[in-house]
Structures are given as C-alpha cells and as structure tokens.
Symmetry: D2
C-alpha cells in the first residue's frame, strides 16, 4: 500500500540500508520541464548536516531514470532513484533483541513475521522521505503559480529555533517541533465531497511522514474554544475572499480561494542519545538501552520541505481531478 | 470520490433535503448477524433533540435494503437507506444570494457550476453522517472483541459539558469542542507502511466528518514540546506493552497492541443564531445576515458516535488487509 | 469489489429476490439533464417478454433517489433504485441441495461460507444488469456526440435471429449468440498506457456481465491468421483515419479516432428447460435435474443494451481522465 | 494508470530506449524465497533470438533493488530494474513524420501532445513486458501449488508452429497466433462478484500486453453456437468437479476448482518487413513506407511466458483478497 493518489499517483520503494530508495510518479502531465538539477535545491533543504541533524551525510544524487525525454516529462511514469552510498549496517544488529522504544522495530517484526529488513528502519526509515521530496519537486512544477511554504515555527516549545537546537545539543536529548504550512494561489473548488476533502487528502499523506503526531487546519484545536460568531469568516467579495481565515482556506472540504493554512506536530526523534529502557528478548527482561547509529536531535528541522512535498502531491491530484469536470 | 476503503469499502450518497441518504458497504464478511434494530442505539446517540442540538427531529428509520439474508450478511454489498421525512426547503432559498459564512455554500456553487442542491447543504450536509454511523455499526460488528469509545472531553473550552451547553444556549452562540477516542483490544500489526499508516487511514475518514479542524494521536501537539527521553514509551514485555503511551498505540504507522488513542477538534457550528456579515450577490456588497433553519448550538455533542463509526470503518479495512498476509 | 472506474465510479448493489437492486454513480459531471423517463427506453430494450426471454415481467420502475436537483445532475452521487416486485422465492429452495450446472450456485455457497442469498442467483443474478443499464444511460448522456450501438449479430450460430429463436423455442433448449458493438465519434487519445488500455477497461466491465465467454476487438481472433502486411491499417490523413480498421479503432490501447469495434460471445443460458445432471448433496450422488423458475431461452437477446451501457461507462471514465491532462 | 491490482499491486515504468525498464511489486507477502537467478528461466523464455524473433539481443539482467533481505521478500515493495544496453535510437527518427501503421505512434503523439518518447515505442514498447515477466515470477512463487502453463497453440493459422515460422521467414511477412493458457490447482472461490470477476481481472491485464486482439474463456466464442444442454458442465462430486469444462473453470466470475482455461489472439507484429503505406506529415500525402529497426516476425512466440505472468499476477491479487474473508 505504498502508493498514493487517484490520478497523480506515487509509488514509493526502497530501504535505508539496501541498494536504493526511489519513487515512481504516474499520471504526471506531459511537457513539464524537468531535469535532475531541478531536484537539488529541495533535496538540499532535506539534507542532514546542520546542527541538530544526523552526521550521516549522503550524496543524495537523484537519477531520473524514466519518463523524461529532451528534458521534458513524456506522460509516462517518472521513476527517480537514489542509490544508498553511506550505510553502516553493523550498527543495527542489536535491534533484533532489543526493539528500540518509540521506533517501529517491534511492530515491523510482528507484521512481517520476522522477515523485514531491520537495518536502519528498513523501508520504514525517514530516508524514504527522499522519494517524497523528489516527487514533491515534480508536483510543485505542475502547480505553476501556486506557492507552498512550510517552516519550523517552534522547536522544543521555543520559537527561537537556534536557541532550542543549542539546548538539545547541550542536553543531548532529542526535541520535537511544530511546522506551519501555507499555500497561496490555489484556485477555488479543489477537493472532493466527503471522503476526499482537502483535509483528508493532505492529512493522509502528511501522516505518512515519520514522527508526525498531529495536524490542524486553520483555527485547528483553538476552534474548540471559540464561538461561532467569532469563528465564521465573513465573505467580503464576489471572489469569496474572507475577512478572517479561521477556516484555513477550506470550507466543506473544498478550497475557498483564500490561503490554505495548516500546522503539524513533530515528535522528538525516538533515537535520543539518552539512556532508556526496553524489553530484551534474549534476557527476557526490561534493560537499560542506548540507541546506536547516527541520528537527528531535531528531526523537525528537516520536515518542512517534506511537508511541502506531501502537500504539493496531494494538491496536484485534486487539481487534475478537478480539471476533469 | 464518495467512497472509502480498499477492501471494506463505503460508498455514500444522498442529500439533506432530497429523498434519502444512504450508504453501500462492499466487502463486508459474510455471516455477520445484522438487523435494522442493531443500528438504532448508535443512531439514537447521533440524534438531535438534546439541549444544544437542532430541534429538527427525524425518525432516522434505517432500511437495510440489500446484502442481508436470514438476518446475516451475505458477502454481497449492504445498502442502508434513510428516507428524509422532515424537510423545510423554503428556509434555504436565500442561500443562493447570500452564501453563509463558514459554510460550503460558496465553494459548492463554484465547484458544481451552480448545479449543486443547496438546500440544507445538500450532499455536504451533516445529515450524511447518518450513513457513516450506520456503516460504523456494521464495522463494529466485524471488529468483535475490539472496543471503540469516543466522548466529548470539552465543549467551549469547558470540561463541564452541561455548563458549557447552558452557556451557549444563554448567549445564543454556537460552541466547539474536543472529542477523545480510545480503542481497546486491537491486535498488533494493523496499518500499512508509508501511505496507509493507521494515522493516515483514520485522519482521512475523520476529516470527512463536517466541522473537524484537527486531529492528534497520543501525545499529539504536546509532543512538540517534549524531549525524546520523556516521549519514548519503554517496552516492558514480550507482547510489546509499554509503560507509558505517548505513541497512542501506533509506531511507524502500525498498531503496537497498546490502546489506540486520539483527539479531534470540532469547530463551533457555522450556523450560529448571532447576526453575521456576508457578501450579497444581488446587492453586490457585504451585508448583515442571520442564518435561518434549525441548527445545532453544539454540534460536537453529536460527533462522538460519528467518530467511533469512522474509526471502526478505517480499522476494519486495515484488519481485513492484514488478514490477507 | 462491486465498484468500477477511477473517477466516474459505479457501485452496484442488490439481489434478485431481495428488496431492490440499484447503483450509485459517483463522479458524474454536474449539469447533465436527467430524469427517470430518460432511463425507460434502454430499460425497455433490456426487458424480458419477447419470444425467447423469461416470462418474469418486472415493472422495472427506476427511482433516481439522489444526485438530482431540478432535473439536472448536481455533481453528487446519483443513486438509482429498482424495487423488486415480482419474485417467487419458493422456486429456489432446491438449489441448496442440487447446485445448478453452469450456474454459480456451487461456488457462491463456498465463497460466502453458505451465507449467500441463493434465491434467483441473489446478488449474482442477471437482474443486476438493470443497474448497469441505468448507469449506462447516464454515461451515454455524458458522452454527448458519441454513438454506441450494439446488436445481436448471430444466435445459435444463425444470423437469421428470428429463425434461431424459433428453433430454440421449438427444441426447448437455450442458445447463445454473438453481440457486435460499434462506437462512433470517439475522440483520439482515450485510454491509458499499459494497464488501463481501452481494451482492458472495456473487457473488464464486459466480463462482469453474466454469460459472457469471450471478447475480441477489431480483427480479433481472425488476426491470428493474418499477415502483418494485410492487418496493418494504412493511415490516410492527418487526422489518423485509416483505410481499413482491423485495429478496431485502438492502437497501443488508445483510441485512434476511427470507429471502435468489438464483438462478444454469449453462452447459452444455463437454465435450459432440458433435463440435466448434477450432484445432489442430500443423496450424495449425481442425479437427473430440471431447472425450475422462469428463464430466458436466449439471454443474448437482452445483452446488447447491457453491452452498450458497459461500454459507455468504461469510456466516460477514460474520457474524464483524459480531460484532466 | 500504470498500476494493476488491489492489494498485490504492480507499478510499471521505463522506456524501450531510455535508461531502463522496471516494476515495483507492492503487497507481496513477506518470507518468499527470491533471488535474481530465479527470474532468469522465465526471462529466457521471453527473450528474442529464436527464428522469427527480433535479432535485438538484450542481456536482460535483472536487479532486484528493493524489498529483499537475506534472499527473502520482506513485505516492503520489490523493485526490479532492467538497464537497457543495446539501443539504436537513430533508427526511429523517421517516426515523427511517418507514423507507422498498426503502431501507436500516431495516438501517442496526440495523447501526450508531442512529448512522448517515440524511440522504439517508448513506454508503450513490448520491452515493458520484461517487467511483467519479472513480476510474474514473484507472483508464481506466491501461488505455490498452482501451475500455470501457456503455449503457442497455432501461428499464422497453422498448428505446426515450426512450419508457420519458416513460412513467415520465407515470405518476410509477420504472422499472428493463438496462445492457450491452463491453470491447475486453483482453489474454489477466487474472484469477486460483478466487476472483479476472474475473467475481468485476467482480461484486464492480458489486454495490457501489446498485440492482443481477443480473449475467450472455456468454450469461448464457440459457446455462441452451443445449446444449453450441451454447454452446462454436470457437477459430479461434492468438490464441484465437472464432467466437461466448457466453463473454463469459472462460474459467475468465481473459480470452481476445475482447470482454468483461456485462449488469447495475438495479431501479426505491425513491424512487418513488407512495404506499406502511411500518411507523411512532411509531404502531407500517403506514401510508401518500410519499417526500420529490428523486429519480430512472430511476436506470438514470445507471448506465452508473458501471458503466464499476467495470469499469475491477476490470480495472486484475487487469492490474497479471498484470504481476507
């Protein structure tokens, strides 16, 4: 079930410590300018290396292996591959006996009857978001004139992000954060009645990003404390512009032509350097445990570009469906 | 796009002021005991009539029109119909000129090129949740041994719900609320890698319920302020039970055998009795406006049973898919 | 899995001897003129009553229960119901012990663990094609300017159809036939690469019609005996018209602007009045057996309108998808 | 729309003269033994080189790039890549002006607004069947105990296949053929009511193979000339075995435990060496034309293994869905 979308469809594959990760994008319109260099800026934004992110540095060199001819999309599936080059699998051997708390090690072992590739999270690794980001670049190109911007609004409860990261480094404990995402220039009428509301489509794909714990659109959770007379956005012209935007640009699951706005909560990386406790299958008791491997202290730093990509992917699908009617 | 699910599939239809609303459930296992009386308790929970809900009272009498033989499901699609009996369409004529703020009137008119049935929200009405609740009863029956409970945890920012409702009635302004949902008895391993995570499936269908503005799993937005060492749930036995449950019963998108837990934010009903402002297409200016019709002051009162139904529907689909492997 | 289509989607429900059969059409464009009377001509063509068809006569009165407002489609799901009025269930009690040869009685019992509604074929009855025909009328309306015509080209091996039917009546044995279907006015470019070729889409839905044993496009099986130099259709103008049409209007799975043409084989109805043999579960031996109930001698007589409907449904979906690009 | 299947899902990508062709298989059970060597026998059967097939010889070396760990499937998507090594693109430059009769050149140009990769058929090339064959090997492994056999039953109207091929070589004209496919060991109850009948699923994927013009199950087109009393297969034991097998192992769209049997018609390759006529876009007139490049005289020789693969893929999906119930 590694696919998403109705007519602009992604299919994701690969493992953190296998040969590669990649994505196939099916249903992309023909004639879109595209080359590998176009992917680099967003891939760079996702990259590790900044303070608070993992020291594992990958070249992350994309190969657009199919669907391109003379630097334009052809209408055929676009497959983008990222060969893995810098893996240290030995780090992960202990996982089999001591499932890492907060990770999927335990459930993956159960779900796949012990056959899953457990190295570095395998197919469930955050490394798969490379594929999302690459697909997001293609999606953004289809969304010409529509601007998607996500940023880290707070980390560890602090809106001074640099200070928050420094504190995480100092205390050697991972921290979470909140991403804010804004989309300008969306036409009215994207989103489908009932099950394929804009919120349904976006939340569906956003929750496929590892470490996301919540999403709220417009007023979000604060709406629960507001009065209807406060919350309603007065419509002030024939184009549907509103005086306020508590709706976050969506009414009844359909874009209303105002700015689309949502926030997502990112948990602190499970791979904290702090000592923790977990069940040991060999000794059959709870034991102290420290995560090995190279990890992020604030994974939220790397989420904005992934969230933008996910948003773009969901919106392109809705846009193309809307064009059919 | 009024369908949901991969192999346990819903298809929803109908309008608030048309002949009926209904649902077809495809892919339900054969041999499940089912009769119309089984639907009544949950339908009753959804019903209007309590303080703070709309005085429009419908009989809400379900007809299980297909898929049943000798009071057992047959494996064929189950269609459940609810004839509309108590509609006052004249109330809604003004909508065409004065799209109600906070409602979908404006975007539906654009999306469907003026052909949508605008009476009472038409197909986008909260009345369609009748269909969800009915399907939820069937889903709950398939989820034998799994217990889903949702309740209104706060309304208008107040955990004393009765007081909150009374205040809304006194001030004649609608209020929002927060629903808390817990699922006990889930097996390990439900949910699919990446795009069909448990959170993706549940949030997708939850956001199809009108008036939902946010969803958070386990620690949710508070995770953004926690440290990894705090947030990680220590695994304490071979069955994967954890000491805490910040994960909300899900790791890497897959159920971990602990209680599944999430919260959703419900906005105040757009149809507040208070005077508001909106664009008038006839006069081509912003004008004062009061919503007509019969409406809820606290729609959140009626959401718990709908949220339970949505959750059950999403989980049955994941359960059946998991059974295939 | 009673649904078909990607964005113009059908969902079928009901049983031969239950309360009703029906269909929900999701993804139909808004603003199409539609009323119940529009369905009657095609429903009449499907009806029993002619020589060689079952004497069971149903009123087949459609109710368009949702998705319509002021006699136009609204963009919301269109549900069409047909109440069953003339059922004689007692005729079918024997089926449990003596599964009818050529019917699905035996496999339905196994597949649904004995819970299927076996009366008159239940959900697998040819009566479900009522739903297809009704949906086909809607699909044909969307395909404005495109003309679909199917006719019975031969019955019982005889192109003089009347004589063939008379022979079946005289010998009291059921006969098969071949349906020829032609579509004029199709634009170039419908159909999707690889898995969603025009042939894939049409054959998928055609084989959901009971009693179909084969389908061939253009030259079909005779192509196997032709030379490439004969079979290739020379392109003779800039619009892609061809001198011959062995391709049947499709190249590489995509419409080429010439007439779309295919033929389907219909088997003789399994319910022949002739005595047959089948396994008797009570006596545990093979026994002589005569089908009871009211049945068709030449079901192929009623298939053309169903084949047209199926074709229209498949083509609308491809047309709408193509519009998105 | 380059995907197939509900829970055992393929996604196909690549071009004949691009970097590679490949396939991602999602939803494959974990724990299946698999290595690249397992693919070679079926890939060899598909290969060119025999009399009557194209002299273009590819190494066809598969890389199983994802979804494998310790030579077993992990439950994650399996991506198999085939790098293209032997392409002569210059051969294809003329296509833009002179669309080859019988090929998709003309319609692909229209569908993709001139952006398609036209070299060697691009994404619509028969080379994509490499991906199908590779996925078929995986599917066959999941179908343990089920035996699928397809063979070329006649070529150019001749059941002496060698003689038929020699005649094609002598006359330098391409020929078609008929493939017969048999499946033994299938359980009862695969296939879903109505739209996902076994015939629907198989025909859907079979018609995605290039050059297929027809498919018939069991008695097929000959059923149209039979009487019901002849055609019905008498059930002779409690397991549902039948005395004859005109049904081809399917009743009401569901496997009945007898041998599944169907035939498919393959047209003569469009790329005949004979001179033909086509429209020339430069001269704006019909002109004589000879296909360049390296091609098959009897593509039907290479189809059996592709048909087996397609059949296995369709059946695995139905098998897994059936397991869920």
């Amino acid at each position: 079930m590694n696919s998403f979308g109705r007519i602009f469809r992604l299919s994701i594959f690969g493992e953190s410590h296998g040969a590669l990760v990649g994505v196939t994008i099916d249903g992309c319109p023909a004639g879109i300018d595209l080359q590998e260099a176009d992917l680099l800026p967003d891939l760079e934004r996702r990259k590790a290396g900044a303070t608070g992110t993992t020291p594992r540095q990958e070249a992350d060199q994309p190969e657009i292996a199919t669907g391109l001819f003379n630097n334009k999309t052809t209408g055929a599936p676009i497959t983008i591959l990222f060969r893995n080059t810098n893996t240290r699998s030995a780090d992960y051997d202990a996982i089999r006996n001591t499932p890492r708390p907060g990770h999927a090690d335990f459930v993956l072992d159960k779900k796949f009857h012990g056959y899953n590739d457990y190295r570095g999270g395998g197919h469930s690794s955050g490394r798969l978001t490379l594929a999302l980001v690459a697909a997001g670049v293609v999606a953004k190109k289809v969304l010409q004139g529509i601007e998607i911007n996500a940023h880290l609004a707070e980390a560890g409860g602090n809106t001074d992000i640099e200070a928050a990261i420094q504190n995480a480094v100092d205390t050697q404990d991972s921290i979470g954060g909140i991403i804010s995402c804004h989309v300008k220039g969306l036409p009215i009428a994207l989103g489908e009645p009932f099950f394929d509301s804009v919120e349904s489509a976006i939340s569906h794909i956003i929750f496929s990003i590892p470490a996301i714990k919540g999403i709220e659109f417009g007023s979000g959770f604060s709406a629960a404390r507001m009065k209807g007379s406060e919350h309603n956005d007065a419509i002030i012209d024939a184009e549907g512009h509103t005086r306020t935007n508590y709706a976050g640009g969506i009414n009844g699951g359909i874009t209303n032509g105002n700015e689309l706005y949502f926030r997502i909560a990112v948990k602190p990386t499970s791979s904290t350097p702090q000592q923790q406790q977990t069940w040991n299958n060999a000794s059959q008791q709870v034991e102290a445990f420290t995560v090995k491997g190279r990890h992020d202290l604030c994974i939220a730093l790397r989420v904005p570009v992934v969230a933008e990509a996910a948003t773009a992917i969901a919106l392109v699908d809705l846009l193309l469906i809307n064009k059919a009617y």
